[in-house]
């Protein structure tokens, strides 16, 4: 049998039982790779269930810096008998299967082309610990130690992580180190180590951090000056508002009075959550909510009101598998059309699509500025993969010179000046010709500037009207505002080849990781070069259309069945559908570079014939 070998290029998968405390041990493993300066990415693959079911954690180590998911498992650490059959099956030929050999492995689980490494985890725990919970938790540390020995992870690094993890409970440091060392020693005494497949210190991560997108979004909302959040729990968005609450509680509480410079209310449902956001933004606070598909469906009615009455709002949609309740713990990019056109009538919404955590942070800050500048909801589209998985990311950056852009808001002085000029305040007047009117906040002036916010048809002075011409004028101005939006949203990013390819690829959000890797694979393994573009926002900047026009064929990579992003391109830019070729994945797992490479190569091969 040929064993897998190599340095700093592997996938390790942990098969655990949900609720057994494995998450923190698995995370320590991943962080030790990171602290050895090697790029890595980690993914939770977990069931929609609190306890008892199989759960997986997958770490990809990639010296080349590929941060997408890669197919095939090199090393499987399996402590869940329930999933063992599929776990054994997913190991690549020549790979390694680590298991608890306190009991013998059933013959059904034996493959000729896999290396088995048995570690008596329960046996060691039974010997070392008398308490049942301790046995459970320290079992996890034993396998961390075993892996460290097998892969040549520096033990000092692991010890440092343990020390950091238990900073607040220092008594636990020593026993955890002990358990880890028990794993190390067992391997040293019983197996050849390190394996042919191993890691080696590098200096490839620079000042990067490891953070999940929800946390980055939550911190972004703090920095953006959000003071109000209304929300309703839903996987995978819950941890976003929890992060906002955590950092607000840390950074925005008066130490003397205990009073908070933030108001966060868990609403009774998503209807109310978004209603609160609108009420607060209408009243001049920066307010936001976060949700996922089912919640976005419920918010439709209010999204229409916000669009038509022109109320700023920020909404993060952390997409999960659909339709309906779908796969709550799996990832997709399948809310795009719903988000873009949410609510009845001619309604459309601005979308921002970050691709990594530091961009989550930046786009949250941008979202609040844009919402107030454009006086409309801004929907930040992330997904479970970005939101709940930890990613290697550039550090979060804030420029202290940055000021919040509160958009066009008349003050009392402005209103007085206006009337001194003999002009009347009109809430929906297009004063500057960019489609964006001026608003006033409640209580600005005792006698000037009040108006009625309504979802019914209205004229430029916010008065109810059933005059169809006036209503059409408002709708036309909203179109003009839409055109203005195109110019001020984050720009797409382009990745051009040297020798100007006539093939293009478009991707966005979390497909970026795999897409960038696929570009390399196509070039190295298929001899295909292509230009690429990463979309960051909707409506589309003029350069998106130019990019498509400049190429004969454009592959659109996305994670949904119906190629929703492609539909947006066709619909908004009036592009010939034949020119846009779908590369799709909708199994709830992040798309892989192989899948993209194969899809593109196959298509190009087919049209050659």
């Amino acid at each position: 049998m040929r064993n897998l070998t190599g340095v700093n290029d592997l996938v390790v998968r942990f098969a655990n039982v949900n609720g057994t405390g494995s998450a923190s041990a698995n995370n320590m493993f991943a962080m030790s790779i990171f602290r050895m300066g090697i790029p890595m990415t980690a993914k939770n693959i977990f069931p929609s269930n609190i306890q008892g079911l199989p759960t997986w954690y997958e770490v990809r180590v990639s010296e080349k810096g590929y941060l997408g998911r890669r197919e095939g498992v090199d090393i499987m650490l399996c402590v869940n008998p329930q999933s063992m059959k599929q776990d054994v099956a997913s190991v690549k030929p020549g790979g390694y299967f680590l298991y608890d050999n306190t009991k013998n492995l059933h013959k059904d689980f034996i493959r000729e082309d896999v290396n088995y490494i048995g570690i008596p985890m329960i046996g060691i725990c039974m010997r070392l610990y008398s308490d049942a919970r301790q046995r459970q938790l320290f079992k996890n540390m034993i396998y961390v130690g075993a892996l460290a020995a097998l892969l040549d992870i520096e033990l000092e690094v692991v010890k440092g992580i343990i020390a950091d993890e238990f900073k607040k409970k220092p008594k636990l440091i020593e026993p955890n180190v002990q358990a880890m060392m028990a794993g190390v020693n067992y391997i040293k005494e019983n197996y050849e180590h390190p394996l042919g497949l191993r890691v080696e210190r590098r200096d490839l991560v620079g000042d990067a951090i490891v953070i999940d997108g929800n946390t980055a979004c939550g911190i972004g909302a703090v920095y953006a000056g959000a003071t109000v959040a209304g929300w309703y729990p839903i996987t995978p968005s819950t941890s976003l508002v929890e992060a906002f609450a955590k950092y607000s509680n840390r950074l925005r509480v008066d130490p003397e009075t205990g009073l908070k410079k933030v108001a966060i209310v868990q609403a009774e449902d998503e209807l109310a959550a978004f209603g609160m956001v609108l009420g607060a933004n209408w009243n001049g606070a920066r307010a936001f909510t976060a949700t996922s598909g089912p919640g976005l469906s419920l918010m439709n009615e209010f999204l229409g009101l916000a669009y038509f009455a022109e109320i700023p709002a920020v909404l993060v949609d952390v997409q999960r598998g659909g339709p309906s309740t779908g796969m709550p713990t799996r990832t997709q990019q399948s809310d795009l059309l719903l988000a873009a056109y949410a609510s009845h009538g001619d309604t459309k919404h601005v979308l921002l699509i970050p691709s990594n955590p530091s961009e989550c942070f930046d786009f949250m800050a941008d979202a609040f500025d844009l919402a107030e500048r454009l006086q409309t909801p801004i929907i930040v589209m992330t997904d479970l993969d970005l939101g709940m998985n930890e990613h290697l990311s550039a550090p979060l950056k804030w420029d202290d010179a940055r000021r919040y852009d509160r958009g066009k808001v008349y003050t009392a002085e402005d209103l007085d000046a206006l009337s001194a000029m003999g002009k009347q305040f009109g809430r929906y007047l297009d004063v500057d010709g960019d489609g964006i009117p001026y608003r006033t906040l409640p209580a600005t002036h005792p006698t000037k500037g009040s108006f009625f916010t309504r979802g019914t048809s209205h004229d430029e002075y916010a008065r109810y009207t059933e005059d169809g011409v006036k209503n059409a004028q408002v709708l036309d101005r909203l179109s003009k505002k839409w055109d203005t939006a195109k110019e001020i949203l984050p720009l797409p990013e382009f990745y051009q080849t040297q020798n100007e390819s006539n093939i293009g690829m478009i991707f966005f959000g979390t497909t970026t990781y795999a897409a960038l890797e696929a570009i390399d694979l196509l070039k190295q393994e298929e001899g295909i070069t292509l230009d690429a573009m990463r979309a960051t926002a909707f409506p589309f900047h003029a350069s998106v259309e130019e990019f498509i026009e400049a190429h004969d064929q454009v592959f659109v990579v996305e994670q949904n069945r119906d190629a929703q992003f492609r539909t947006l391109l066709i619909n908004e830019l009036e592009i010939n559908p034949k020119k846009l070729i779908k590369i799709l994945n909708y199994d709830g797992m992040p798309i892989t570079a192989d899948a993209i490479r194969n899809g593109i190569a196959k298509h190009l091969e087919a049209i050659k014939l």
Partner: protein, 350 residues
């Protein structure tokens, strides 16, 4: 047709303590049916705000959808208004209040708006003790969609088309008491002498104040057999003791006999008429209020007046311990922790 009222003001119109005349508290001309109870309620709101010398622009008036929800357009022209969507006014009011605790929040809703589509939001606004006055203009029917029964229509009540409502009506007052509302009152659109002081008291209450106002729909629900018609309500009304608008500054005491009434001069110069109908009636006793309400129901009476008040009430902001300053007034300096702190945060992720 214009809905703007003529600007002419009589120079001798009396002004209140903040220098406004009563016309300053009006809105555009109502487009509701002539004689609609809702217009009388708007009138009472105007009267109460004028007498309390509230600065109109310090009021945020919010509503849902329905004839009743149109009324904020017909009072307080200098206030910002917000017609939200059907049944969702409470959440919008909650957000507005979260953003700025210093304004006065006046929500207007219908019984369809509140007791059906908006029931969830109504209930939770009470639960959070949002500092607002929530007026339900309760006509037992859907006015704007032309007369369907609402969830507050009493069982057996006959609609204009002659059909008999088979379902029990929801009593919003009883429900609010049960939910722990801190100010609960009921009144009748045609009884300004009772309604105006109730509105004043409700506006000065710290927390959620519900006034369920029976407001007959002259067009669709004023027929014989309806239990929300003018005649029916007038015949079955029973008023409770009322303590109108009593600011906290200084205790105002008054004693008077059962069955009599008395005028009390308030701090701002307005006066409140107190009626005393029940001996020893204490509106601070929730249990007594609940059983009195049950008793009224059994006797076919409609109980009006201040049914319950909790003078110690703590509002949403006090519950969640948010800053005393309006959150919408906080600036970058208050809110943004800055690049230095972010560098430390980054370090936690390495």
């Amino acid at each position: 047709m214009t809905y703007i009222k003529p600007k002419f003001r009589h120079p001798d119109l009396p002004k209140n303590a903040v220098g406004f005349t009563k016309t300053d508290y009006e809105g555009v001309i109502s487009t509701l049916c002539a004689g609609c109870g809702h217009d009388s309620i708007s009138g009472s709101i105007v009267q109460a705000c004028y007498e309390m010398s509230i600065e109109p622009h310090r009021v945020a008036k919010l509503s849902g959808i329905g004839c009743s929800s149109k009324t904020p357009n017909y009072f307080l022209n200098n206030s910002h208004g917000f017609n939200s969507v059907h049944g969702r006014m409470p959440s919008v009011a909650t957000g507005a209040n979260m953003a700025n605790r210093d304004l006065i929040y006046l929500g207007v809703s219908g019984d369809g708006d509140t007791a059906s589509i908006g029931m969830g939001q109504f209930v939770h606004a009470i639960r959070r003790n949002l500092n607002m006055l929530y007026i339900v203009m309760n006509n037992g029917c859907y006015g704007l969609t032309k007369g369907q029964d609402s969830a507050t229509a009493d069982a057996g009540s006959v609609s204009k088309s002659g059909s008999v409502n088979p379902f029990e009506g929801i009593d919003l007052v009883g429900m609010a008491l049960e939910l722990g509302a801190t100010f609960v009152a009921r009144s009748f659109s045609g009884d300004k002498t009772q309604l105006v002081p109730l509105i004043k008291a409700a506006l000065s209450h710290n927390g959620f104040a519900l006034i369920d106002v029976l407001s007959p729909c002259v067009t669709f629900n004023n027929n014989v057999g309806s239990t929300k018609s003018y005649d029916y309500v007038r015949d079955h009304i029973e008023a409770l003791a009322e303590i109108g608008y009593v600011p906290e500054k200084e205790e105002i005491t008054v004693s008077y006999d059962r069955g009599s009434s008395v005028d009390v001069e308030l701090h701002d110069g307005s006066s409140v008429q107190l009626h005393k109908l029940a001996d020893g009636w204490d509106p601070r006793d929730r249990q007594a209020a609940m059983s009195r309400l049950q008793q009224a129901k059994a006797e076919g009476e409609i109980l009006t007046g201040l049914v319950y008040v909790d003078p110690e009430s703590k509002d949403l902001h006090e519950i969640i311990k948010s800053d005393k300053r309006p959150l919408n007034s906080l600036k970058e300096e208050d809110l943004c922790p800055g690049a230095g702190v972010l560098a430390m945060i980054n370090d936690e992720f390495r």
